[in-house]
Every structure is written in structure tokens, then in C-alpha cells.
Amino acid sequence: MSYSSLINGERLFCHRFANGLRAYILEKPGYKRQLATLAVRFGSLDIKHELIGVGQIDVPAGSAHLLSHLLLEEEEGENVFQRFANLGASIDTDTFKNITIFQVSTCGNLLEVITELIDFVHRPYLIPELTEKTRKIVEHEIRTYQGDCRWLGNNNLLSGLYQENPVRVSEYGTVGSIRQIDTELMLLCYHSFYHPANMALFVAGDVSAQRVVGQISKAFAKHDHFQAPQVIRLYQHEPVEVFQSKVEDELFISRPYYLLGIKQLPYYQGFDLLRHQLIMEFVCNIIVSKSQSYIKELYRRNVFDETFFAEFTASIYYAYLTIGGFTTNVARFDENLRKAILKLKQERIRLDHFEIFKHNICAQHIRLLESIETYAIKFLAFQFQGVYFQDFARALASIDQSDVNNALETSLDLNQATVSVLLPDTR
């Protein structure tokens, strides 16, 4: 077991078990909440894979998400929610691009909760009646998200930016795609992906890492593990060009919602990916800050308002920058944003501004550490790509002005851009 010291006496322990499971334990002295997050490396990107000895398996969009819901079901109408409620804990599940997570929040009985969490993922009860029932609930969820402007705008943006990469497909799939999923397929997915070597566990709270590791060991010892199947994830070649330069849609919203996405090639892995993510966070901070007079002027004229944002999403499979917000005038917003980007490309960041942004990024990371649910998910999603948040300080320290200047010059390529606009539908 190795550990890194974080801040305020917090320590992060890492341990790899013989069965392949990776565990990360964040000791947070004085913290009341206790959290256990189990991640399975099976997300919405995983729609094509090859099972050695079986052949190529294509699964409909939303399979990972539907399976996560199904695993919460138990025999005779019982469910996992009830089991955790009996322990005074609550469980949540969600699916992201590369992982599915089961997150349990509790207070005072973490070791029991960890055992229960590990037990239930080993106890699938997959029968057609429950698949059907779960599908109905997930259909409600999909329809609810389709009415959420931020979700829909982002989903449309990705479907315009990418031609083949499954990042363009929603984490939840569609009502149509999940209707193609049957119980056999769910069983196949379960046996392909739900194996300790394909899982990671993040535990946080005022706990002893040694005791947590002991408990995880005990909990896994109860379960027989089948031989981990060899899974080759198949990702199709993604052309450099965007699929569509503009995607327009309508929704019941107050005013247009505009997003500009800029596609990048996913060059980086491991520490370099973390470093690139941080360099792009400088770029995002520069875009939304008022440090540049022309951007300040756009805020002053209310072209940009408090909804204006920029964020960068990095992965070993895809990378893109999103800039946008609500506007009352799409053409004006688009024109001004593009002009500002062209100016930014020629910009050289001042040393004093560089230092301020560096401290802002450090502060954002410290705040993220306080929002432990989100931290756990990001940590787990990244560690499956060889990126470790404990390297944050080293990565940030390695960045200088020239890295940021270079990123400003090269990463804001409007020839690689897609615009997603949601227009108000007032019918």
C-alpha cells in the first residue's frame, strides 16, 4: 500500500489487490460523511468489443446504464436501496463515458457498507421481468434528460463534433436503443465487465485505510471469481473533421442556449494527459475571465453573462473544449465569441495573470476535494486512463507561461468547431 499526503492532514492510500481490484482510500480527519464509490470500467463508450473465444459483441447505446439499474434489483421484489436504507446509508448509481459507478453515502458504519456494496454487485438477479421493469423506469429518466437544456445542448454538440467515436452517444442511450436490450445481453455484459480487475473502489471519510483494506479483502474473499474474460474494446477510427458544423434544436427554454465545441485529437496519456487537462484549464480560465479587455467589454455589454462558461474534457479517446451560455441573440454571441477566440489565439499571457490563474486552478482543485462525491467520480474515471489526481501538484508546477501561450495558439482551431444551438420553443 502506498500513500500520498494531500492537504489539511488528509492522506490518500492506494492498494492493488491480488484479484486486480484497485482501491483508493482518502483519510479525511474530522469529516462526518463516509463515502464508498465502486467504479466498473464499463461506460457508454463501450458499445463494441471483442470477447476472446466468443467474438465481436455490439451492444445498443445505454447498455451500461441499464445494467447498473438492473443490478439494484433483487429476488422477490427486494432491492438494494432497501438494504442500504437498513444500514442508514443511501446508494446512487450513474453511468459516464468510461465507467459505471455505485456510490454509497453513510455516516459511522462504513465497513459494513463496503461489504454490502461488494456483495450486491456479485449477486446479479437478471430476469426478463426485471429487465422490462427497469427499462420502463430508465425510459422516464431518458425523457426527463431530453427536457434538460444543458444535457440536450451538450449531447447535440457531441453528435455534431464526432462522426464515429461513441462519445457522440448519450450515456443513457435512447428510448429506442434500450428497447433492443434483453436479459441475455445484460448477462453477457455483466460477465464481461463486472470483474475485480475491471473495477476500482474509492473510499473517503474519517477512517483508517488499513481497516478499509482489510474489510475489502474479507468482502471479496466470500465471492468466487470466474476467470476474467479477455475483452478488447473496439473503437472505430475517428476522422479529424467534425461531423456537422451546426446542430440546431428546439426546447421549451427562456432564451437560446449556445455551445461552441472545438474538437482536438486525443494525443495524451497518463501524466501528460493530466498536464494537458490543466493547461487547458488555464485556457478556459482566460476565456471566461475579464483579464482580457475585449472579453471584459463583452461582459460589460451583456453579450456574455453569468451563464457564460468554458470547460475542457480530456480522455485518451477524445478531447474537446466547450464554450457557451444563454444568450438573447445567437448571431451576436457567435460573432463576438469567434472574434474573441481569434484575438486570444494571438495573445501572450502576462506573468501576473499566469500566476493568478495558477492559484485559481489550485483553488478549484481544493474545492473539488471538498465536494467528495464529484471528486471520487472524476478520480475513478481518470485512474482507468492512467491519470492520477495525486500528481496534480506536480503537473501544475510543471506548467509555465509558454505552455499556456502555445495552447492558446494551437487549441482554439475554429475549423474544428461545431455549434449547438437550442432555440426556445414557446408552443
Binding site: 480527519p29 462526518k32 432497501q82 442500504f84 436504507a85 455516516c107 422516464h140 475579464k290 438573447t328
Partner: protein
Amino acid sequence: MPFTKQEIGDGVRLHLCDNSRYKTITVKIFIQQEISEEHVTQTAIIPFLLLRQLQYEEFAGVSFKGDIIKTGDLQIIEFSMEMVLPEFLPYGQKMAKTACKTLWKQISDPELVRKAFNKKDFELERLALKNRLNDRVNNRSTFARYRATRHIGYLEEMKIHQYGLEEYFEQLEVEEVYEYYKELIRYHPIDIFIVGKGVERLAKVFDVSGLNRKAIKRLTVAEEIPRGTPIDCYDRHNVEQGICLMCYRTGLSYADDEFFELVVLSGVYSRFSHSKLFVHLRERATLCERLHSFIEPTKGYLMAGATINVRVYGSVLRVMDRQLEAIELGKITPAELENTKKALIRELICVEDNPVMLIYQYLIAVINQKVRSVEEKIDLINQVTITNVQKRALNLTLDTIYLFHGVPRRRKK
């Protein structure tokens, strides 16, 4: 108690929570008033206008925010400052003090142009406020809750949205807003909360001697005006999923000890994944994925509902009625009661991890003039019996059944 309280001026209360476990320093300043059609809109523009001039870029690692919140019939101006602990920033100690001073200067002694706020800024904030008000629809859950509140409180001031009334935007005058700001800062209750490590030394920054505070307004929570017969009401828009909310008067508020019986009732009925509605509406009948549950602590009304397909509205209402009837008949299992208590106690304990939630929870207690320790609240929850929950359910008065719905007709170009 997590906070120590000092009266640092007439009607100005300083609440300090000096605790080294937080990695941030959080400052929140609240100015309260009774919400009214006359003043709501001019008040709503003030925090945004005051903070507009702040040069955020000078403060690395610090964030400032202004907003307007509401509880019961009160409209509350909120100013926030949050920064990571000084030791994580260069010149951090100095920065913490400077950031607090700057925030307080913006609030208590803002820069003026010809004895009023800057007119250009004012015009831009007027537009921003209008957008902010209209943007409410973009969050379906809070919009549905706001619309339902308008119906429940149709005879009460709580029906007014904290961001103001659209018809008043055009009439706003910069001079009048400035005059009203002076009134607010001089005569209305102010609560200052500071949470973090070593925050006592920041307290001195908040000097109120120059505010000429006097004759501080005593704010009251108006009596509720119950409706005779429950009503059904709806908003129809082009949305994929509707939201249905059953709204009940409870006759209680946070100040009453019985309020915790109501909290347990809400937990048994709709709040958690072991609650009756989750089990029966979602897991058994598969009529929804998302449930809604809300208690307004100051006026004490309760909402429960779900995001639904409008075609199954009738079935949803039947399940909701049936489950509430079960509670009225005392059909609550010991596990339902105990699991609810455990979940509520967990939430109460974990609030301490989050400075923002801690402040909001304490503010509600201060406003309702009933400050209880976590232990006292846990005791009140632990004392609740099945009979208490049954009695609370029998005392609910259905006021409004609200439905936000529409027929989906989206198209993609």
C-alpha cells in the same frame, strides 16, 4: 452549537464558526426584508449591481457572488465570498482580509456616480435581472415548485418570486433603487456568517459603525391564509415530461418541535429511496424515475410529487393518494420509520461537512427564532413515533394539485 453569535451593531448579528477542518473560508451576508410587490424588484437588482464593480481578477483563489433567496414571506439579499485557506495561497492572510474588506466596502459603501449607482451598470443589470427571471423555466423542478407556490400562496406575499415582477422592470429608476438600498442597509436585519479556520480575525473587517443603524425593522412571518377547497392547476408547455406536485398546508413551521414529525412524515412518504412513493410509484408501478419532496421551513407547506409522463397522471395521483391514506391509517412498518430516522440523522450530521449548507440551515433557524443543536434535532427525530407520523398525515390539508406538462413536439434540423 457550531456558531458563536455577537450583536455587532443594531440588528447586525455576526455568526462565527472557527473550525480548522475546512479547507475554505466562507463568508455570507444576508439582509432580510418582508417580500412585497412594491419593493421586490428594486431589491432584486441590488446584490448584482453592487458586485458588478468588483475586480475579481485581483483575487486569486477567491470567488464572490450575489444572489436573492426567499424563505416564507421573506426576501433575502445574499452576498458570498469563498476562498481556499490562506496557507494555500501566496499572501493568503493578507488576501483573506483584503477580500473581506472589498466585499464589505461594496455592500456598505459602494462607489457612486452623482450620488447614485452608476446608471450604465444599472441599465445592464436591469436586462440581466429580466433574463434571470425568465431563465427560471430552464430548471424544470424549481420552476414547478415556484409555480405551485404561486397557487398555494395566492392570497399571501410568498407567491412573489424573489427575482421580482416583470411588469416592474421598466419602471425601475436608478435613483429610487439607491434610496431603497440606503433604507435596507440602515433599517433591516443583517446576518453575517463566517466559517473556516482562524476566521475570528476577519470579524473586525465588518465594521458597521458607519451605517448609522437605527430603528431596525422587526420582520414577521405572516399567518397563512388557507384555501377552502383544494384546486387543480396546471401550466402547459412543450415539454417531454411533466411534473406533478401535491401541495399540503401543515400548520407548522421550523419553530415548532412538531416540525420534526413532519420531516419524518415526508421521509416516510416521499423523500428517500425506501419511502412509500419511491417503492410504490417508481419501483412497483414504474410510473416515474424521479421523485420530488420539499418542505418550506418558514411557512411549513409540504410538496410531494414526481416527474411523469402526463398520460399516466391519473394513475400517479391514485398511487399518491393511496400511499398517504396508508400513512393516515398508521400503516407504517417499523423499518420504514427507523430507516427514515437513520437517513435524516445522517443528513443532519453530514451538514457539518459543508460550510454553505451549514450556514443556510442556521439562517433558517435564526429567522424562525429557534436555534437547536444537532443533538437536540436528533433527539426530536428519535422521539417521533408511528402515531406521531399518522397524526401529522391526518393534519395535512391538501391545498393545490399542480401539474406542469405539455405535448412533446421537438424537431431537429
